[in-house]
Symmetry: C2
Subunit: 706 residues, 2 copies
């Protein structure tokens, strides 16, 4: 999977979420399993993310202090205790007091058997599936009164979800910590809620994967789609075919012990791990090691650039299937999940078309197209997967006539494929619109729904839409930057996949996202410290403050823009200002909201004051950045955007004056500023200013007679 | 080793460094191996830390860009290439461009064989010692011209040191990156330059140890003193005595494979690893597992509190020596270093005195004191260590009559012991004055010298002073906080141990420390992101900005104060405001310098402006912190210090006015403020305001007739 298609795949849909929602009938129930649109108020959703299926706030609060204890009744096992212990460790650090432990020592915490006095009673009916699948029951109920909290779930996975909700409810005030009284009945809207992490284009160490699994669990995601091979590297140790890691990984691969550890780590958090080994295309790394299975003569070299490349398995070579059979037979044992992702995307077909033997094979079999030949390849692959206990998942290119409906289709080229797959009897998951590497906003991703209200699918077809996955492709991310590209935006996608369809209030999303983002750091992900950390290296001996302030207002250019402008390879250091920047800075939403409130009431004093301060700050930044660039060559990359920012700031101050006074701007004012507004909508160096449309609304309004 | 003695062990010495130094004869040579006092100018030391033995700046600059190559000639081995490759990776990230690689791929980088065109030529004469010891040659010369850089060293360790110097020379300006032309001849003043890391009171994962080894290498430290056992936990896997880790570690210990990996990681960076297994006292954890070797009847439990405890090995029990022989025999194989630290400190003697059999043994042998009995114990230990190829290191308590001079004395109780040991023929290292957990300033530690100019030791005795170690005791640090307690202050100690005695300019230290501190983050240590990261959890849903601003001006109370006030145990979460604070915030030095320059010229406009802004900010903080405390109970811990800060700010503004106008303050002004100044010199909650003396100087001056 790659990025030939870089255009916004859900163009236009981002606006849908701005449509005002009808008020809920019962304001204390923020969402129910029946279809009913909702305006969320802060007092209703607090800092719950994803919003549960049903929340009924009660009276009073459960105080949390050093006397906090947990009692477990019903089913108990190591996974359950592990989840409780991790929750207790996080709670202890938040409260700043040590909680009750077993007499023997620091770990494990003591689980009380005194149900009457326990602060939190956890009750699971059973362990859940031996191998977690998409049919796992993840539901739970959480009842909190001023006396105690009770968490009940049919499975340990439901308990794991409920414990995260409990932690999200912890609040503080001058009198201490507490959880508000509440009754929550919760279950996910979709059973398949994942993140794809590409470790081929840039490798990610186990520690990075594990901390992201913790963060996924915190927002109730349940699938790690691990993209383990591609043209740029093969990342798994094979003992049967050791040349894969020896010759095609640069030494950057996971040992089998590490794979097992990650899979166990994920299972402990209620997360499945679906491996992807992309075939027959995107397979340069395989063929570096085993060129004899290619459709063209080798040798091949690992790809350092990004795009779609020609090396492809030879579908006419019986030894290819024996090789894949033995490979799957070995590696399937590492991944207990019933699914195996075969990729199947972006086969260029160049080698197939150029190879007379393959063309003869096509003719002999009556395959009109290379797509038909790939379907043949897939049909050969299916019994191999089945033999090793696996069902096939593939990108939507595999959806060709002849593909058995036991396959799962992952749609990356558009929502239409998703419906088409479901209509034709396939189960399907959505990734189109959820490419985190595209550097779009949380709001944009939030507006994407695998099963929107406008869907024309029958209930039976709709049930085949299993959910979706956010995709973290790794052309432009490495271990230092990946967290900042996943979080907090993936939390918005997590909410879309978990919460009722009607939970769509963008303002409330951003309010919660700001706090949840900070709390996610508790899991070890480093998105929140990202910018300052990157800037300390980039700034050299200069003060990072102006650069940090600047990056509060700038974000990376979109994926396609950066690809074209910078033309990075796998070897380029990802240490530039664009890498220190973060997508969808919170100021974007804030500035938009301030502009909208000001346009509704041009004399609104608080909004005026805050916007004026922001616009003034933009003007002051430029000379400070120039000083930084005197000792930091990379700081100079700020200038294209900083120049426009300064001009926008000046124009914004003027606009506020005109709007506030009701004054008419001088002739030609709007025309003079329009080119700046136009520049602000385009990439500026490798950066973007993400609030161009808000500024345009403000300035155009100020430029009108009023 | 613990903290019974918490009083400042080098009281008074901190002022010594403020004494003005005589100017160097040759201003372009900042220090030489001859004794000559120096005032360092920024243009002389740039961002070199530790300052090399001899630096001669030249004309011109060596440009660094994507054409940068390294050629290695002379001796070459995997350790050398590894060091070069790590340097290249860091350089590549700083420059933001990919450097030349081998055709095969991402790693390793290509080492050029074209010496004529290489940007950096590295030339080692040999590998250095097979097992690095304190006699290793760490010297190097670095010659940089506008054409090339040449790094020469007798050993690979010298190359490793020189590569760090090269990276410290990298500077940027508008035209790009470069290194100034220079000739550096460098070698350490002391051969033993270490950090003790206590992993018993709080365990530190391997990743924490490894990132600190990288940071140590960056400032040319060369010993990790690994404090692996104490009353609170035993941290090494023993296969012969598995109950040690099974019963006395809470599951928090290093496997033997991990130990070997850390030792190899350290060796790759030119760092020795000296293990400490504290006996006969500080040994509760041993005796939890094997109570039969104790001086009192067990059973014992792991100690959760901190201090000096009674469980002690029985020196009269022959089976104790057989046990220790077998233990050392097993574990010595993990640690190739010729030294083995036996601890030997703070034996309470309570169990010995209470045990009639032990008392009878003392009488029978003619030992007058428990100290004499401990010397007997040490004398029994010495042949065991020798049998397994180890020399003894111990805390200064072991310096009793009868101890062979082959032992190394580590002085923690005062400098006097160090001189006494050297005088009596022992080699010795200093730790007194270098306890990082005491939360003193870099300036304070910097003023401590193992061999000050005033030393009365003969040259032969002086040669026995091998150096010293900064000590990171772990009562109050865990994995989240340890980096912030070690860095950047340990860099000041590193300079004291490496650089000529005459390098003592504190202003220049702080100037360099600010930049070096940021660069250290490149090694993975997390001190620079520490405060904000901790505050994001602590602040809950509140904005961290006021808390972060507050902690720019506050630091943790001293070790003894916190111990008394908070009485933490091993189980207390280290997530309070005191943990988010950092020792010796840079504002302390800055405010002191501003006050001094203002007192020299009361109308100095720039200083007035900056101080006024700081004082005003203190007043504004209080209401913001009060708002934060409304949703964050732990934020309220700021109030005692924030109250005083606000009062000091108001007084400071008044003082500036009086000084600026030459006005006489109203009657009683100074008397009214003095109680606030007094409060500012004491702990405020668990925090301290570190610039009390500067404010007092300012306010007292303003209160005088002038």
């Amino acid at each position: 999977m790659s990025h030939r298609c870089c255009a916004p795949v859900v163009a236009g849909i981002a606006l849908a979420c701005l449509v005002t929602m009808a008020a809920a009938q019962n304001p204390t129930v923020i969402a129910t399993s029946t279809v009913q649109a909702t305006v969320a108020a802060p007092s209703q959703t607090r800092f719950l993310l994803p919003v549960p299926a049903s929340v009924q706030w009660g009276e009073g609060r459960l105080r949390l202090d050093s006397t906090f204890t947990v009692a477990v009744r019903g089913h108990s096992d190591a996974r359950l205790s592990g989840a409780v212990w991790r929750m207790l460790q996080r709670l202890e650090k938040r409260l700043g007091v040590s909680l009750t432990r077993s007499p023997e020592g620091a770990a494990p915490f003591a689980l009380s058997t005194d149900f009457a006095s326990a602060t939190l009673v956890v009750e699971a009916q059973g362990p859940g599936q031996t191998v977690q699948t998409e049919t796992e029951d993840e539901s739970y109920t959480l009842d909190v009164t001023s006396a105690r909290a009770v968490l009940r779930a049919p499975t340990v996975v439901g308990v794991i979800r409920g414990l995260e909700t409990f932690l999200q409810l912890v609040e503080g005030d001058r009198s201490g910590f507490s959880v508000p009284a509440v009754t929550i009945q919760d279950r996910p809207r979709f059973p398949w809620r994942g993140i794809l992490i590409d470790v081929s284009r840039h490798f990610e160490p186990v520690a990075v994967i594990e901390r992201n699994l913790d963060a996924m669990a915190a927002v109730k995601l349940n699938v790690l789609h691990w993209h383990l091979s591609d043209d740029q590297g093969f990342r798994v140790e094979s003992r049967r075919f050791p040349k894969l890691q020896e010759q095609a990984s640069d030494g950057l691969f996971y040992t089998q012990a590490e794979i097992r550890a990650v899979v166990a780590y994920a299972r402990d958090r209620g997360i499945r791990v679906v491996p992807e080994f992309d075939v027959p295309g995107h397979s340069t790394s395989w063929l570096v090691a085993y060129p004899e299975y290619a459709s063209a003569p080798g040798p091949f070299a690992l790809e350092r650039e990004f795009g779609v490349f020609d090396p492809t398995f030879d579908p006419t070579n019986e030894r290819v299937y024996r090789f894949l059979d033995r490979f799957v037979g070995e590696i399937a044992a590492l991944f207990p999940d019933p699914y195996w992702h075969v990729g199947g995307d972006e086969n260029s077909g160049v080698e197939w078309s150029a190879n007379p033997r393959i063309q003869a094979f096509k003719r002999a079999r009556g395959f009109a197209t290379n797509e038909a030949l790939q379907t043949y390849f897939n049909q050969r692959l299916l019994p191999i997967l089945a033999k090793h206990g696996k069902r096939m998942v593939g990108w939507d290119e595999i959806l060709e006539p002849g593909l058995p409906t036991s396959s799962v289709i992952q749609s990356w080229r558009g929502r239409a494929t998703l419906d088409s797959a479901a209509h034709r009897g396939y189960t399907a998951i959505l990734s189109s619109g959820w490419y985190l590497d595209h550097q779009r906003t949380a709001e944009y991703h939030y507006a994407v729904d695998p099963l929107p209200a406008t869907s024309t699918l029958t209930p039976e077809e709709a049930a085949r839409i299993l959910g979706g996955e956010a995709c973290m492709w790794a052309e432009h991310v490495g271990p230092e930057t990946i967290d900042s590209r996943i979080w907090p935006r993936a939390a918005a996608i997590a909410e879309r996949l978990w919460s009722p369809r009607e939970v769509t209030d963008v303002a409330d999303l951003y309010r919660r996202l700001a706090v949840v983002s900070a709390r996610l750091e508790e899991t070890g992900v480093q998105h929140a410290s990202h910018t300052d950390r990157m800037l300390r290296r980039l700034a050299g001996s200069a003060d990072i403050a102006p650069l940090a302030e600047f990056l509060r207002y700038a974000q990376p250019a979109y994926f396609g823009e950066r690809s074209q402008l910078q033309r990075t390879t796998q070897l380029n250091p990802l240490t530039h200002l664009v890498d220190a920047a973060r997508p969808d800075p919170f100021t974007r939403w804030r500035i938009g909201a301030l502009v909208d409130s000001l346009l509704a009431d041009p004399r609104h004093a608080a909004g005026r004051g805050e916007l004026t301060a922001i616009f003034d700050a933009w003007g002051r930044l430029l000379p400070q950045l120039q000083a930084a660039a005197d000792s930091s060559p990379l700081a100079g990359e700020a200038f294209p955007a900083a120049d426009v920012l300064a001009a926008l700031g000046a124009a914004g101050v003027d606009a506020l004056t005109f709007l506030g006074d009701g004054a008419v701007p001088p002739d030609g004012w709007l025309a003079r500023i329009t080119p700046t507004l136009d520049r602000a909508d385009r990439p500026l160096g490798l950066l973007r200013l993400p609030f161009g449309s808000a500024l345009r609304r403000l300035i155009v309004a100020a430029g009108q007679p009023h």
